[in-house]
């Protein structure tokens, strides 16, 4: 310390920032600026030979916008699913408690979808068209089984996507949503079999929940999206 205090010339000039309080926020801003600059630099030498996009796929994009669009795609899928559930015979004949639960979850997912749509504004991907022909919406087991698949997939997707987010604010926003998805997932599992809220998605030895890469999640999600609306997440890196 004393060396810095006593030093002169260039060294003192350089040392100056060390004595100016560096707030965490400004570090984040600096980090963000660096990430942007690095992305620009790297884009010029990236020949995109790992691009897995196919004609007719919806490219969610790259950077934080890519991650937000990826989340938007998954929330579109979930919101469309619960909208179909509420139009189906299982819901119509369900007991009041289950109806209330499905009403609440459907509202949450629509809010999440609209939230990302609004947040992304002109950067948002187009509305996705779904294909739920494999799901029998008249059958409780089929509906809850599909709901479990979507909710578990959503949580694992957010768990695996956090690392691709550069902005601390967006990371916190994703965190606000993923725990609600985890609550949905636990409840749907408990409706299928009470007490199964963590079965096969949380390791009993590490206590960690599953995490899935964007590519793995997209492969699973694309099974429920029509041709021309399947998502390509290859540019999330």
């Amino acid at each position: 310390m004393s060396k810095l205090l006593n030093s002169g010339g260039d060294e003192a000039e350089f040392a100056k920032p060390l004595y100016v309080p560096i707030k965490r926020r400004s570090f984040f801003m600096y980090a963000g600026a660096t990430a942007g600059a690095t992305a620009l630099l790297l884009s010029s030498c990236n020949d995109d030979d790992d691009d897995t996009s196919m004609p007719g796929m919806v490219d969610v994009g790259s950077g934080d916008t890519g991650v937000l669009n990826y989340a938007y795609a998954l929330e579109q899928l979930e919101a469309a699913f619960y909208t179909m559930v509420k139009a189906g015979d299982y819901y119509k004949n369900a007991v009041a408690a289950e109806k209330a639960i499905l009403d609440d979850i459907a509202a949450h997912e629509i809010i999440h979808r609209e939230f990302f749509k609004a947040a992304l504004s002109t950067s948002a991907i187009k509305p996705l068209e779904v294909d739920f022909s494999s799901i029998n919406f008249g059958d409780r087991t089929a509906v809850l089984g599909a709901a479990k698949t979507f909710e578990d997939l959503g949580v694992a997707a957010y768990n695996g996507a956090g690392q691709y987010i550069s902005s601390a604010d967006y990371l916190t926003l994703a965190g606000k949503i993923v725990s609600v998805e985890a609550r949905h997932a636990a409840l749907i599992r408990d409706l299928i079999s009470n007490g199964s809220f963590v079965n096969d998605v949380v390791s009993p030895t590490t206590g960690l929940e599953l995490s899935k890469s964007p590519v793995d999640v997209a492969n699973a999600a694309n099974m429920y999206l029509k041709d021309g609306f399947k998502i390509n997440v290859g540019n999330i890196k």
Binding site: G162, T172, S179, V180, H184, L187
Partner: protein, 291 residues
């Protein structure tokens, strides 16, 4: 700021700090091997952490997050361990079939404790000892209890369990931003965060099965189980608006085009987003059960 010049100077001024940073996940030596994003974002933050450590800046680092997380996991682990003991002693009667669930939850919390102990050890940081806990909230009998029958009344036990789990979910959420520079740790924190949310949901479901007015998510419509001491557990949780810094719109829903869905849009908007709590609030809440 020229980050490499800063690092070079830092190495000269404080070689030990430089080496610690360097050793931590090989941040400096293997820049080329790191993902582009990690390299770009982790470096300035890592430097920030070292500067704070070396020069006493009072700003939160990843190690502070580990320390808070370890405290919270000790709290939960000990809570369930004590409850299961009370069950074996016959002083706490679990609802039929629920004991196995709490064994499962306790095992998760124990694994989380071990995880953060390992993280602190591998960072060459001090591993804090387990605090002394009093889950009645009487601070070892020095003040009136908040939950006197926590280990003799199953309903009270479930209430405290819900408060602890929801606190955990909110606390981890508040810590995510401090982990943004370390992808491995960030992912693990997210994986733990989701587990705590599943625990919270199931415990809320148990309370509902016993007649409580409560949902699996935090809702304005839930019956109140906090008092003045524990109000912070849910304070600010029912936000009906989300702010969107740096995005084309700054608020959701906007004031001019309010967004309405379902029969109770404001309640649903509050439920659809779990809100974070700060390190300070999380520490204060853990302190209610610590002496």
């Amino acid at each position: 700021m020229n980050i490499f010049k800063l690092l070079a100077n830092l190495a000269e001024v404080d070689p030990e700090a430089y080496q610690r940073l360097s050793a931590r996940r090989g941040m400096l030596s293997s820049l080329g091997q790191l993902s582009r994003k990690t390299a770009a974002t982790a470096l300035p933050l890592g430097v920030g952490a070292v500067l704070q450590k070396a020069y006493g800046r009072n700003t939160q680092t990843i190690l502070d997050t580990f320390t808070l997380a370890l405290t919270l996991e000790h709290l939960e682990n000990e809570f369930y361990t004590k409850a299961l003991e009370a069950g074996r002693n016959g002083t706490l009667t679990f609802a039929p079939g629920t004991q196995a669930v709490f064994q499962q939850i306790q095992a998760h919390e124990q694994a989380h404790v071990a995880f953060f102990q390992r993280q602190l050890q591998s960072s060459n940081a001090a591993v804090p000892a387990k605090p002394n806990f009093d889950f009645t909230g009487s601070k070892n009998g020095t003040k009136p209890a908040l939950y006197a029958d926590v280990f003799t009344n199953f309903a009270t036990f479930l209430k405290v369990a819900q408060l602890l789990e929801d606190t955990g979910v909110r606390a981890y959420k508040g810590q995510l931003e401090f982990l943004i520079s370390d992808n491995d740790v960030l992912q693990a924190a997210l994986q733990i965060h989701a587990v705590e949310a599943r625990h919270a949901a199931h415990i809320r479901g148990m309370r509902r099965a016993l007649g409580a007015n409560v949902r699996d998510w935090i809702s304005k419509d839930d019956e109140t189980i906090t008092n003045t001491s524990t109000a912070a557990v849910y304070a600010g949780e029912d936000a009906e608006k989300q702010t969107l810094p740096g995005l084309p719109i700054t608020q959701f829903p906007t004031d001019t085009t309010p967004f309405a869905v379902g029969p109770k849009p404001k309640v649903s908007l509050g439920e659809a987003f779990d809100e974070p709590i700060t390190t300070g609030v999380a520490t204060q809440l853990a302190g209610l059960f610590t002496f």
